[in-house]
Subunit: 358 residues, 2 copies
């Protein structure tokens, strides 16, 4: 059975359990996962035995190449209206739709077009399939992470006082592409000096200075799969406080990576890192969760936070990214991506984790 056929079979098992005759797949990410389609406009209708895929003429050739195991239709009309035209829902009564991935307007079109169908809002149906990565997915994730490691190494070689944060971000984006990524996984974060205290700072006009700490948070996509790496580097010299705080974050991350194993609760892993940081007196300065799942989405399940109810099943890929942020001073974050195994974890990113003074 092909990998997409296997995924569709697992989806069908869920449909049976939830007593749905079909699921309308409007998330493009889910469409890629289930049917292999990577274009920007399409929907899938996965029934208990049949499957259909609808796109427009721009994607006719691409759809024919990528999508197997589903009837393919081309339309010039809004995709949801085209379902009727092609009778993709003609023999069903109870149909699920992805309530997080459909606009209210699209829902209205469905209701109007199929007055006799009972539509059931669903959440998390395909998402639960994404949880554990298969070997093909891991290959793409590793490829993305290898490129990001390489780009970090190059950035470490070129970053210097006098550059603007924006210039560094432009180099990251450029180099991700040159090394074969499809693009950035997210807008690169380059937060220098006191701006390092903003965990989500975008790269701005601030000019890097001798003596700055600079937090670089970068990632790319390969075949839709995301990498996510953060390093904090020092320009020219470090103070005792910088070294102390870096050491605490480094230790918190190492403790979490040491403790991580398949089957543990995600919140237990969060606690391992959080306890190290709190024990050093910086508990309030670690203001976000330890990490998040990573795959076709830059943020997906499992959540690795103090409130998470998720379990770190073997085969999950998550980030481990503790940080300390001190307003007016700056911040340190160190982030790697790990694959959970039955007995521990494999760290997938390889950039050096000790404080680089450049």
């Amino acid at each position: 059975m092909s990998r997409h056929a296997d995924r569709v079979a697992r989806l069908r098992a869920i449909l049976r359990k939830q007593q749905l005759d079909a699921l309308i797949v409007t998330s493009l990410t889910h469409l890629q996962y289930l049917l292999g389609f990577t274009g920007s406009h399409g929907i899938g209708i996965i029934g208990r035995r049949t499957a259909a895929f609808i796109t427009d003429s721009r994607y006719q050739a691409q759809g024919a190449r990528q999508v197997r195991g589903a009837r393919r239709f081309i339309t010039q009309r809004p995709l949801l209206e085209a379902i009727a035209e092609h009778r993709c829902l003609s023999r069903v009564t109870t149909v699920g739709f992805e309530s997080h991935h459909i606009t209210f307007q699209q829902y209205r079109v469905l209701r109007r077009t199929f007055p006799r169908v009972t539509f059931i809002p669903t959440t998390g149906v395909v998402e639960q399939l994404l949880y554990v990565k298969d070997p093909v997915e891991l290959t793409a994730l590793r490829a993305a992470m290898r490129i990001t490691d390489q780009v970090f190494e190059e950035i470490a070689g070129l970053i210097r006082p006098g550059m603007r944060e924006k210039d560094v971000a432009a180099e990251i984006t450029y180099r991700h592409r040159l090394h074969g990524a499809d693009g950035d996984a997210f807008e690169p974060i380059v937060a220098s000096g006191e701006r390092g205290s903003l965990p989500h700072a975008r790269a701005g006009d601030r000019v890097l200075r001798h003596g700055d700490l600079v937090t670089l948070d970068l990632g790319c996509t390969v075949k839709g799969y995301h990498s996510d790496l953060t390093r904090t580097v020092a320009l020219g010299r470090t103070t005792r406080k910088m070294r102390e705080i870096y050491g605490v974050v480094r230790e918190a991350q190492a403790a979490a990576i040491d403790a991580a194993h398949g089957g543990m609760l995600a919140r237990e892993l969060d606690a391992v890192a959080r306890n190290v940081i709190a024990g050093a007196g910086f508990g309030d300065a670690f203001s976000h969760s330890l990490g998040h799942g990573l795959g076709l989405n830059i943020h997906e399940r499992p959540r690795v936070s103090a409130l998470s109810k998720d379990t770190l099943v073997p085969g999950c890929v998550v980030t481990v990214e503790p940080g300390i942020y001190l307003p007016g001073w700056g911040g340190v974050r160190i982030e790697d991506d790990i694959l959970l195994t039955a007995t521990g974890c494999t760290v997938l990113t390889a950039a050096p984790r000790d404080l680089l003074v450049l």
Copy 2:
């Protein structure tokens, strides 16, 4: 009155006309337009007399700096649930929401949280305000277009046989940022040789060859406003057929720019270019519409197509982008951005329009 206050006042006039007590603004683009907020997470509630803005703690400082004329609230909960907490809808009965910009799941949260409110799906309410650009918007649009003109000039200087399409795309992205853009307006299109026949081809692994035509479609954003420019260039030499087809597209575009004026129907402008191309025998090879509105969105009203019912009001900004696509041979597209005036139009992009042989 500040520019945002003026926009909110014009929205309130529409609310009165549509008998809505308030509009819940979930589109981030619309939130920027109405309240000036440029972050990635927030909602607005614009009532007849009051306004509220809700975001999370990441955007507390940014919200305080950017958003005037609305009460500001910070929440850690889902934004729509926080509306109740802050009593932003406590005295209203009929509330519009943006049905194209809200997920079904968000709609459910609204319904559940406010069982006594009548929610009315709306379409196109804020969109109609975006139609005509004000001077501040035009300044940002011109800034984006100037950067893209500059990047095209640089790309024309460096493009050469042996580069991959992807390498050219990486240069475009890099240079947009270096010149101060926030980022690309869209994934740059670099379509060479026979790939030029795909109007929406992404840059791929194809290596540019002596004798290729190469279509470059690029744009950036400045303060949220988009530029959009296409040029087709020749590498090294041209054939008679290339020059003929380029000439037809060039003439079609010039005719449309000559004919454009405020008050005309958008479909009349489409017809001007389409008639030139059809008259030269390539009618079937111009397979898309002539253009689209441009502003805070890369595609917005008015549509400039054969079926459009929109009018080109003075103050609109639209693209004019005729093309000829011949499967197996390649394609030519020339695209500029114009501002409609009462008596004609101003071309906002300045890259040379004659065929460049590089």
